[in-house]
Each structure stands twice: as structure tokens, then as C-alpha cells.
């Protein structure tokens, strides 16, 4: 009943809007970037592209907003601005929007909020003891968080299985999503090594760049990894930071693992076949699902108020929210597609569990050199 009520006044507010969609409702979609830009080659960009694609496909009005500084105040201002311009579906990618949701979701009951990468903890901020419904407006907000540790695990597992013994992890900034990827990666590599009984041969260099873009300094560090320390493959995890990894890899024919989306096309621009795989999470699908739920199918009610923890749902990898790309991954006979499918299956089945804590580096049999922030 509540939902329909919401629907009702939603429509009532926006009657005067011009845009109409197939469902007869009138929607305007806005996206607000967290601190980066929609070209951060990361979740902002993925989200933007998904929204845009959907909007164009369905003739819905769409625009994006960028906060003028990296602060809650600015993010809230951006949402205010979007709402003031009559946008009533607001997509917020990134864990930074917790405070924004706390403030704005109650303030605009008729606007629908879709928050990605938003865990309960992020949402609660410091209000740990009160009931969630008092923290934010459960009647117009949907949150999703991804189990990045899973694709991270798969990537690490795959890399070692493919025969790489000296791995590297280059994170952007040490933010939750990135950490989950990283720790998953380490666990995966460890599992594979143990499986093959080569714990003592496998090493992981682990570091964060402290920024989401590459530059001479980070490239220098990567050069050291590839050329001096003999690292074979680096999981470049965070926005444009892969550029430095790819730069260095290209010089010595090293390998790189992409992140978030299938980055093979981008990274291979540096050298053919550089990308052995990508640890993907399904931002785009989620965006699509929800936008269509609202705009096309009127099934928003099924989602609103939830904080989904998106990960593995099916034995069929492609139906999952987290996966490795089937086509661009460099399958080989030590790690075939079937091995991958098997892996997914056993993960779904729960035979394999991946720890998702982001406080401490997972215990491993293999050596992990934690270099912390290298810049």
C-alpha cells in the first residue's frame, strides 16, 4: 500500500513534466558523481554509461551532476540541485553518499534514490544503534553493495592457476571496495597456490597508489615491480591507475588484470594480450534492472528499502553480479572455462567462502609484501 501511495504522489508532483515514457509515468534520471568525474574509468563512468544508455533507449531525460568539492556538503548540494531541476530518479554511485542519503532521502520523499556500493555501515555512519528506518528514508531508497572480494578471489585464483607465480596488486586509494578486491585477490591466489602445493613459490606485492590516476611516480614503482622485482602480473584496481601498470608492463611484456568492467579493450591498447582477465562487478546490470523496474515495469516496490549484497546468485557465471569475462579472459589448459565454472559453482554452493573483512590482511600461506601507500 505504502509503495503505491508513494507512486501516487510521485506522479502528482511531476504531472507538469513534459517527458513521458512507455509506462505513462514521467521520469527524469540524474546521476551524481561521488568525487571523481564520469570519466574516472571506474564506477562513476560505468554507472554514467549505463544510465545514459538506458535513458536514450527509453527516451527518458538524463543528466549528471558533479559536486564542486569532495565533501558531503557539496554532494548534498548536487542532489538538491538535481531535485530542484525536477529530476526524480537519482543514481548515487559510491560509498561516499551515506551522509547524502541520510540528509536527502527524507527531504525528498517523492524522489527515488538508487545508491550503489552503499553498505549498511556507510549508510549508518555514526548512528550505529538506532533503527535503520530512522537513519534514512526506506520508502524511496534502494542500496546495493557488491561482494568485490569474490571477483578479486576469482582473479587471484585464475592468475596463479594460469601459472603466474609473482603477482602484484596496485589499488587506487584504500577505500572499502578496493580493499575488498585486494584482499579477495590475495585469498584467491593463496587458495590456488595451496591447491597446487606451491605456497612457497608464490609472492604477492601489495600496494595502493593513493590516487585514481597514473603518473610518472607510479609508473616508476611499477617498473620496479615488473623489471627489478620480476612481478609477472599486476591487478590494477582503481580508476585510471591501470595506465601506470600497463605502461610498465608494456616494456617487459608483463601482464595486467582489469577491474570493474571488462578492461581488455582499454588495456590492450598498450600491448596485445596484456590483459589476462578482469575482475568485474555488475554495476551496469544493477542500474539497468532498477531503472527498468521503475520506468518500465513498475516493480520498484520489490526493491525499495533493500540493501542488497550483490554477489553470486547462479551457477551460470554470466547471471551473477560478479564475474570474470568469458570471452576476453586468457583461458589456458591449466585454467579452462570449465575450471572457472567449477570454481563459481563451488563458491555458490558455499564450499569456498571468501572472507570480506577489510580491517586486516588475510592470513596466507604465500608471501605477501604489504607496501601500503607508495605515493
Amino acid at each position: 500500500a505504502k509503495e503505491t501511495a508513494t507512486e501516487a504522489d510521485t506522479s502528482s508532483v511531476i504531472q507538469n513534466e513534459t517527458e513521458t515514457t512507455t509506462s505513462g509515468e514521467t521520469y527524469k534520471i540524474a546521476m551524481v558523481t561521488d568525487s571523481g568525474d564520469i570519466t574516472d574509468q571506474s564506477f562513476n563512468q560505468t554507472t554514467y554509461e549505463a544510465c545514459k544508455a538506458f535513458a536514450e533507449a527509453n527516451g527518458v531525460d538524463f543528466n549528471y551532476y558533479k559536486p564542486d568539492s569532495d565533501s558531503d556538503e557539496a554532494r548534498i548540494a548536487a542532489v538538491d540541485q538535481a531535485c530542484a531541476e525536477g529530476y526524480n530518479i537519482i543514481v548515487l554511485p559510491g560509498y561516499l553518499f551515506g551522509a547524502t542519503l541520510r540528509e536527502e532521502s527524507p527531504a525528498y520523499p517523492d524522489v527515488k534514490f538508487i545508491a550503489l556500493d552503499m553498505s549498511e555501515a556507510d549508510l549508518r555512519g555514526d548512528q550505529t544503534d538506532v533503527d535503520l528506518s530512522e537513519v534514512y528514508n526506506v520508502e524511496n531508497t534502494y542500496c546495493a553493495i557488491y561482494q568485490e572480494e569474490l571477483p578479486g578471489y576469482m582473479a587471484g585464483y585464475a592468475a596463479v592457476k594460469m601459472g603466474y607465480k609473482h603477482l602484484g596488486f596496485l589499488g587506487g586509494m584504500s577505500v572499502p571496495a578496493v580493499i575488498r578486491y585486494g584482499f579477495g585477490y590475495v585469498q584467491g591466489a593463496n587458495a590456488a597456490a595451496v591447491e597446487l602445493g606451491i605456497e612457497d613459490e608464490v609472492t604477492v606485492e601489495y600496494a595502493y597508489g593513493g590516487q585514481f590516476y597514473g603518473d610518472a611516480d607510479i609508473t616508476a614503482a611499477m617498473d620496479t615491480w615488473y623489471s627489478t622485482n620480476g612481478v609477472e602480473v599486476v591487478f590494477a584496481c582503481g580508476g585510471g591507475i591501470y595506465t601506470s601498470a600497463a605502461e610498465a608492463a608494456a616494456k617487459v611484456g608483463g601482464k595486467v588484470i582489469g577491474v570493474d568492467s571488462d578492461q581488455a579493450p582499454v588495456i590492450d591498447a598498450y600491448a596485445e594480450g596484456m590483459t589476462i582477465t578482469s575482475a568485474m562487478k555488475g554495476l551496469a546490470p544493477t542500474v539497468n534492472t532498477l531503472l527498468s523496474a521503475i520506468v518500465l515495469e513498475d516493480t520498484w516496490a520489490d526493491y525499495v528499502g533493500k540493501i542488497d549484497n550483490l554477489g553470486l546468485v547462479s551457477e551460470n557465471p554470466e547471471e551473477n553480479y560478479v564475474q570474470l569475462p568469458l570471452e576476453s579472459t586468457q583461458w589456458c589448459d591449466t585454467f579452462t572455462q570449465d575450471d572457472y565454472k567449477a570454481l563459481v559453482a563451488s563458491m555458490v554452493a558455499g564450499d569456498i567462502t571468501v572472507d570480506n573483512n577489510i580491517e586486516t590482511m588475510p592470513e596466507t600461506a604465500i608471501t605477501v609484501n604489504d607496501l601500503g601507500n607508495i605515493k
Binding site: N63, P67, E73, G125, M173, S174, V175, P176, I358
Partner: protein, 377 residues
């Protein structure tokens, strides 16, 4: 007769600064507009308007008020930075280090607030002291080693940034690159609003920092123009040797000047970060622009503390206004561009005044000459 009045008005320094500043603003906006036109003629007009409208962009009174508040909140630190710059400048020192002292101040007040849970006034004090200390280093270097303050300040800007990043990493959120939120960790460190926020649609960031900033501006003016200390400091700035000759402690004065200047910048940081409006990102790789914009505001304000109040507001106004530019056509940096242009143009102000006076002099001489001729004949 009225000729005379016109002349006296044109001769008036304050009036000259005013025209000059307005000219800078106009030209700056004009160039900005042209740039917009070049990029995309369609929305140029709309864009420049929304930059100028800033918060007035909101149809509803409430929101408008609220964001007027936000603009003011950011004006306070800018004002203090510009005071820092102009104070030093009046005393013959170019404190390009305001940026770094601002950083140091931010580091100090946030650390006191988050690591030691100290109340807001103590945190402000800490920021002031640390800012002063950092600037005093430049002062010391100039007084005793005659190191050009501009250079030492630039070095210290970077050092301050790196150190503060390291320091605040110890009080940052476990899972994000930001210093912990004051509201959560230590609300006592938030500068009280004393009911001011009510005036701005409960914009909780509006605090007594605003009136305080204005008061400081006035104090700076009094100190410079009316007091013995101001006289001494200016003398020292203009001629170190002469100051020594007539018994002023010239080294001490140079250091004192820098210290005061740094204190102002540090206070600016406190007035910003202790409102909780923004957290410090320990991954910052460049010094926040506040100090540099302070230079702009200082010169745009005709190097007058009271003028600085208005110029600071203006600069902040267009900076905030940049957020309302349609991102699908232009980028927010347009307003950075404009304020940068304005700084640049401020460089021409002195020449403008010089030129104006020359013109006036010429005119008067001509008059005088004619007068003489008349007399002889």
C-alpha cells in the same frame, strides 16, 4: 567648481581602487564569457548567468538562503587568507605561503579536535599558533639568513602539505581517505552557530566564524593604519636598515609580521574545517587553492582589509556559482579560469592608478602653465 569635485574624487585612492577592481571583474567576466562562447555558443549566456546567480539559482527562498549561507561559510576562510596576504604585503612581504599556513592550520585544528577531543576555541587557537609558527620560519629565514620569503614559503607550502597528510592519516576513517567527521567524533570542536544558522534556513555550517572573520578584518585595518605597531612594521618592511637605525627591532618585526600573517591564514583554516563543512582528504597531492585565492581577494580588494571583505565574497560567489554551470556543456573550472584571470588583471591595477594620476597631473600642469602665461601677459 564641479570640475574640482570631479578631480578630487578621481584623485581619491579608495575610489581609484574601486574602479580598478570593478574593471578587473568586468574584463575577467567578459573573457570568461568569450571562452564559453567559443566552447559552445548555445549555453554561454545561461552559463555565465548561473555563475553570477550562484545560490539565487534556486527558485525556493529556503534553498536559496541555505546556499547563500554555504557561500558565506566558504567566504570566511577566504577572507582570512586574503587578510593574511595583504597584511604581509603592506609590510613589504609577499606571503605566498598563506596556502601552506592554511594547510598547517587545518592540520593543527583537526588533529586537536580528533586526536585529543579538544573544544573548538582551543582548536582555533592551535590552528592560529601553528599557522603563525610556520610563517615565522619564513620570517626567521628572512631576518637572519636573508632568504627571500616567497621562495621559503613555496618550499614550506609543500612540506606542510606532506606533513599534514601524514599527521591526519592517524585520525582518518579506517575505510576512507578522509579525516573523521567532527560531528561524529567530537561535536564540541564544531564552532557554535549561536542561532546564526536559523537565519540561513538552518544551514548548520553557518557559525559565528562569519562575524568573527569580519571583526578580524577590521582589527587588521586598525592595526595597520592607526597603531604604533603598524607604523613600526611598515617602516621595517620598507627599509630594514632605517628601522634598525632608529632602534626598532627589525629582525623581530619581520618575524612578527610573518607570524601574524600566518596566524590569520591558520585561523582561516580553522574557520573552515571546524564548521564540519568539509573533511580533510589525506591523499591530497596539491595544496588547497584557498591561500592562492586569498592573493586574488587581497589585490582585488585594493589591498584594503575592508575591501577584502567584499572581494573575498565576490570570488567565493563566482567560485560557488561554477557548480551551477550545465556540466553537459561546460566544466566547473570555468569559474577558476575567471578568478585566475581576475588575479592576473589585478596586476595591472597599480599601473592603472599611476597612469590615471599621470593624466591628472598633466592636466593640472597644463592648467598651471596657462595660469602662469596668463599672469605674465
Amino acid at each position: 567648481m564641479n570640475k574640482k569635485e570631479k578631480k578630487s574624487l578621481l584623485r581619491n585612492g579608495a575610489f581609484q581602487s574601486l574602479i580598478a577592481s570593478l574593471a578587473c571583474i568586468l574584463i575577467g567576466l567578459l573573457v570568461g564569457y568569450i571562452v564559453l562562447l567559443l566552447i559552445n555558443p548555445a549555453g554561454a549566456g545561461k552559463a555565465i548567468i548561473s555563475i553570477l546567480k550562484n545560490f539565487m539559482y534556486y527558485p525556493t527562498k529556503v534553498k536559496a538562503l541555505q546556499y547563500f549561507g554555504s557561500t558565506l561559510v566558504k567566504t570566511a576562510p577566504l577572507l582570512l587568507c586574503s587578510l593574511s596576504v595583504l597584511f604581509a604585503y603592506k609590510v613589504g612581504l609577499f606571503n605566498i605561503g598563506a596556502a601552506g599556513q592554511y594547510v598547517a592550520g587545518a592540520g593543527a585544528c583537526l588533529y586537536c579536535a580528533l586526536a585529543w577531543n579538544l573544544p573548538w576555541y582551543v582548536c582555533i587557537l592551535a590552528a592560529v599558533v601553528v599557522g603563525a609558527a610556520l610563517a615565522a620560519i619564513s620570517g626567521l629565514l628572512k631576518a637572519y639568513c636573508n632568504v627571500n620569503e616567497v621562495i621559503s614559503c613555496i618550499m614550506l607550502n609543500w612540506i606542510a602539505l606532506y606533513v599534514v597528510n601524514m599527521l591526519l592519516s592517524t585520525v582518518k576513517d579506517a575505510s576512507s581517505p578522509y579525516s573523521e567527521s567532527l560531528t561524529a567524533k567530537n561535536p564540541g570542536a564544531l564552532i557554535p552557530s549561536a542561532g546564526l544558522s536559523a537565519l540561513f534556513a538552518n544551514n548548520k555550517y553557518v557559525t559565528i566564524a562569519l562575524p568573527l572573520a569580519v571583526v578580524v578584518a577590521i582589527l587588521v585595518w586598525v592595526l595597520l593604519e592607526k597603531t604604533k605597531l603598524g607604523y613600526e612594521l611598515k617602516a621595517t618592511g620598507l627599509n630594514k636598515q632605517a628601522a634598525k637605525y632608529c632602534g626598532m627591532r627589525e629582525k623581530y618585526n619581520i618575524i612578527l609580521t610573518m607570524a601574524i600573517s600566518g596566524a590569520l591564514a591558520g585561523m582561516g583554516a580553522a574557520f573552515f574545517y571546524l564548521t564540519g563543512v568539509e573533511q580533510w582528504a589525506v591523499t591530497q597531492t596539491s595544496v588547497p587553492g584557498m591561500g592562492f585565492n586569498g592573493i586574488a581577494a587581497a589585490f582585488l580588494g585594493g589591498l584594503h582589509p575592508i575591501g577584502a571583505i567584499f572581494s573575498s565574497y565576490f570570488i567565493q560567489h563566482i567560485t560557488s556559482g561554477g557548480a551551477y554551470v550545465d556540466k553537459s556543456m561546460y566544466c566547473a573550472q570555468i569559474s577558476d579560469l575567471i578568478s585566475a584571470l581576475i588575479i592576473y588583471l589585478c596586476g595591472f591595477v597599480f599601473f592603472f592608478k599611476l597612469w590615471l594620476n599621470r593624466v591628472l597631473d598633466k592636466r593640472d600642469e597644463k592648467r598651471a602653465a596657462q595660469g602662469q602665461k596668463g599672469g605674465e601677459a
